[in-house]
Subunit: 282 residues, 2 copies
């Protein structure tokens, strides 16, 4: 990374949200108001700082391959601590167990991470990037809502969120496709990609057209390329999110992040909870 | 469950593979030759016993919602120990951290599990079961290979595995669709479903048409229905597996398990490693 890129990172809100200091065998971090959600910190920022706890650990080998984050309870504004330990180090893979808390014994998030050394070899893309007009041809939309939304420039290809007061009688399409990038420029890396893998509003909002109590319960993100190849020329990512099933308070959500030149950089799945809409007049 | 169902479970190989005894704060289990893979125990059986370590724990609340298993190293034949602790218990969700080892300090698998109490409410299936002729119209195929394959009755709709000595010059389709059920009848539950969510041979084998050194690195399985509704009349499940990307030694894999009446019971993703084929004559 050149000096300019490094400077850009230093200034960036994501650096604030993922800055960690090592003290007595634990990482110490601080929540960042730039990444606030309806309740507590934006899950994508939490995922990024949990990944960073392993990524910046002196014992880490290889590049991020998989990260699973379990959101146990909201993280309140202020300091938090992260314990990160390599459960196993093999020749080319390493497995981590990570836990975040603010008060001793009161776990707010758990994670497992896998790192791997890739060897150049057989490469074959089964899935192609979905067709979309280039980002330059679409207008940026500023979604109203909590502060994390301001951290991304969003240009919608399909499924732009639009919320009313009354739920749709007939469920609407659940998918969203958009170009997005960091609002404040920053070279893409595994930290920004994992944050972006959560940067889709709840699919239940799309389907019912209303905001409801909602949260990610567990998020799994896979990185499909070596760290050195996680860049795109202008920072744009084509994101495509969808869901398969909403049932009895829980739903899944899938997301894929593509580089403009058609490489699948990241895919993620999450399981989410939601509360049913309250019928009118209640 | 009625007495007959309970008896069937007692006799079933999956009971052997997932039987656990509590001793000094740890679960003690035993590998089962019925679920053997090319190297070590079949990953689906390992996932099932890790889930069971939380499921059968006296502190557990709710039904399985999400399970992530990280395969750190092969499990050798014999006894293993599992530590399972609830990292957090909320009113309606519970988060677990689970570790498996055979020798103290030598972790072979890690897992996180989420359990949840579902409340009947808004239900909407976005994705429909893929079209397939009924299981009764398709012949059972016994795939040659390690013992775990014998535990499932498999009837292929598409993508039946067929392996040669020389890799295809042009990559072949990566997906497989099949009806499957436990070869020895057993009522479906979260344990058998998680085992089945891994019961697809590596997608790299389909694409290249050869067997290669291959393994699951991390497997995430979501349960989309309450435990009481994880049954199907005759035990059949329509499974559909695919991959999006093979790149530099690693690939993803997705799988969905449907009940014959069209309910999505389980979806899973995994990240896998593979070795490139050795060119002929080397």
């Amino acid at each position: 990374m050149d000096a300019t890129a490094n400077e850009a990172r230093q200034r960036h809100p994501l650096e604030g949200a993922t800055a960690l200091t090592w003290r007595d065998g634990l990482w110490i971090g601080q929540t960042n108001k730039d990444y606030w959600a309806f309740v507590g910190q934006y899950g994508g920022a939490t995922a990024a700082v949990l990944l960073r706890a392993a990524l910046d650990h002196p014992d880490r080998i290889g590049d991020p391959l998989a990260l699973t984050v379990n959101y146990c309870a909201p993280i309140a504004e202020g300091e938090f601590k992260i314990s990160a330990r390599p459960a196993r180090t093999n020749r080319s893979t390493q497995h981590w167990i990570i836990e975040l808390f603010q008060t001793e014994g009161d776990i707010l998030a758990t994670a497992t991470a896998v790192f791997a050394r890739r060897r150049p070899g057989f490469t074959h893309a089964v899935m192609s990037m979905p067709k979309a007009p280039p980002a330059a041809q679409i207008k940026t939309v500023a979604l109203p809502g909590p502060s994390w939304l301001e951290q991304y420039e969003m240009r919608f290809v399909a499924g732009q969120p639009a919320f009313g007061r009354v739920p749709h009688a007939v469920p609407q399409p659940s998918d969203t496709m958009l170009w997005m990038r960091d609002a404040a420029p920053r070279p893409l890396d595994s930290l920004s990609l994992v944050a972006m893998s959560d940067a889709f509003v709840g699919r239940i909002f799309q389907v019912l057209g209303v905001l409801l109590p909602f949260g990610t319960v567990s998020l799994t993100t896979y990185f499909h390329t070596a760290a050195a190849e996680m860049t795109t020329d202008d920072g744009w990512i084509l994101g495509h999110a969808d869901a398969a099933i909403f049932r009895d308070g829980f739903a899944d959500q899938t997301a894929r992040l593509w580089s403009p030149d058609g490489r699948l950089l990241v895919s993620s799945v999450q399981t989410t909870y939601f509360r049913d809409p309250v019928p009118e007049g209640k």
